[in-house]
């Protein structure tokens, strides 16, 4: 078990180090998030709706679109130099590779998610509500399910000639539970409602993340077989 965790940690470390040195994906996702918020600002007629009322939905959509931008390239760097073969031929089992990649993606996406919330606070005068901790939890659970599905299908789409174009078509229909429970939880917490009111949502987000992680860990080896 120690060896297994060690293997996962090695993959996570490798991916995060690569990202730290190139800063390609995180920069793209962060820039996307800020620019999307700028566009949203002009897309909303403030005499009709107040941005605070729809902030939760905008936050999640920014995370989903911006996140796919980075997650879709999970395997690009390794595909270029055939480095993926090396990773797959290493003694680490395929599910450890998947979990490692998912955790590394999660770290990136969570940084972006926090940035998105920060940008919305700054741009739209958003208030964090009474329980920032529960908000952080909702974002984390939602992001976890999202990166697990995203990582699995990023491996699928990068094996096709449609590439990243295919990714949203594969992932969006599956993301509906995350979007529904995530946005309602976020919206209610931002609106200052008590945490007890979103406990059910958090549980469903957790269930979604668990299903996504187990499905991904079980099926990843069939995706990267050749």
């Amino acid at each position: 078990m120690r060896g297994y965790l060690g293997q996962i940690r090695a993959i996570v470390w490798k991916d995060l180090l690569l990202e730290f040195r190139t800063r390609e994906r995180i920069a793209a996702m962060a820039a996307f998030a800020v620019l999307a918020a700028v566009l949203f600002n002009y897309a909303i007629d403030k005499s009709l709706v107040s941005p605070q009322n729809i902030a939760a939905g905008l936050i999640w959509m920014t995370i989903v679109f911006g996140g796919l931008l980075g997650i879709g390239r999970t395997f690009n760097l390794e595909a270029q130099d055939g480095a993926m073969q090396g990773v797959l031929m290493s003694p680490a089992p395929k599910d450890a590779v998947f979990l490692g990649k998912t955790i590394a993606n999660f770290v990136l996406l969570y940084v972006v998610a926090i940035l998105v919330v920060g940008v919305f606070m700054l741009f739209f005068g958003l208030d964090l509500g009474t329980s920032p901790l529960a908000l952080a939890g909702a974002l984390a659970l939602g992001a976890l399910g999202f990166v697990a599905l995203g990582t699995l299908f990023s491996a699928v789409s990068s094996g096709t000639h449609m590439g990243e174009t295919l990714l949203p078509i594969l992932v969006f229909p599956l993301l509906v539970p995350m979007v529904i429970y995530g946005t309602t939880a976020t919206g209610r917490l931002l609106g200052g409602r008590p945490v007890a009111e979103v406990a059910g949502n958090l549980r469903m987000l957790g269930a979604f993340a668990l299903v996504a992680i187990f499905a991904g860990a079980g099926l990843f080896r069939f995706v990267v077989e050749d």
Partner: protein, 230 residues
């Protein structure tokens, strides 16, 4: 079963299914009693509900055969998954076209974010992803694996999607047949619905067998071509 047997079986099932679908059409217009509150528009129910049943049944077959394909790597399982997916997509399309037609009259709008409607739309897109993954993979064997993964993850996610969209909102008429107490549907309506289910199921399995036979022939032709070129 030989390809010839598959084609004979498929053709007879499909023809029988089509005849029964014709009968269901006739009976739903001229025989069954008109539903009191929804009036004449409710007659589309005998097409809509069986189509929905087959669309979800087909996805069950896709998921099951996909999982078995990944396990056993038998091309016949992959062909079955493909045949079921194509059939399922047709019936999901029927359900998605008949539903809004009824909705326009009963609810006053073609589209509403009603859970079952939403679920079918998403099912339709999962099917679409299934075909896109298959057709955009350079090597056929990889396409089969990828498609199987899409089918399995879709099937795992569908219950969660269902829960979430129901939780989001429910406007749809409540179930009238499969529910804890006895069916509340009057006798003639229930019989016609059952006939519709039978007709669509037979039609589906007829199309399924024909599609399966076609794919078998295509694989055989590909194999011959490969042998000829090498």
């Amino acid at each position: 079963m030989s390809v010839r047997g598959l084609r004979i079986g498929g053709t007879s099932l499909a023809v029988l299914g089509l005849l029964l679908v014709g009968l269901v059409f006739g009976l739903s217009f001229f025989w069954v009693s008109t539903e009191a509150s929804q009036g004449i528009a409710q007659r589309i129910f005998y097409i809509h509900v069986p189509a929905a049943w087959v669309a979800f049944l087909a996805f069950g077959i896709v998921a099951l055969t996909s999982a078995m394909y990944l396990w056993l790597r038998d091309d016949r399982l992959d062909r079955a998954a493909l045949a079921a997916a194509e059939g399922g997509m047709i019936f999901a399309t029927i359900m998605l076209t008949t539903g809004p037609l009824w909705g326009k009259i009963a609810w006053g709008t073609y589209w509403t974010w009603e859970p079952r409607l939403t679920l079918t739309l998403l099912l339709w897109f999962i099917y679409l992803g299934y075909f896109l993954v298959r057709s955009s993979s350079e090597n056929a064997e990889r396409g089969k694996r990828f498609a199987a993964v899409v089918g399995i993850v879709g099937a795992l996610d569908i219950p969660l999607i269902h829960l979430s969209v129901v939780w989001f909102r429910s406007l749809h008429p409540q179930p009238v047949v499969v529910k804890p107490d006895a069916p509340s549907l009057p006798g003639d309506m229930l019989s016609l619905l059952m006939l519709g289910l039978l007709a669509f199921t037979l039609l589906f399995f007829g199309l399924f067998l024909l599609r399966y036979a076609l794919e078998t022939l295509r694989d055989a032709a590909d194999a011959r071509e490969r042998r000829a070129t090498t």
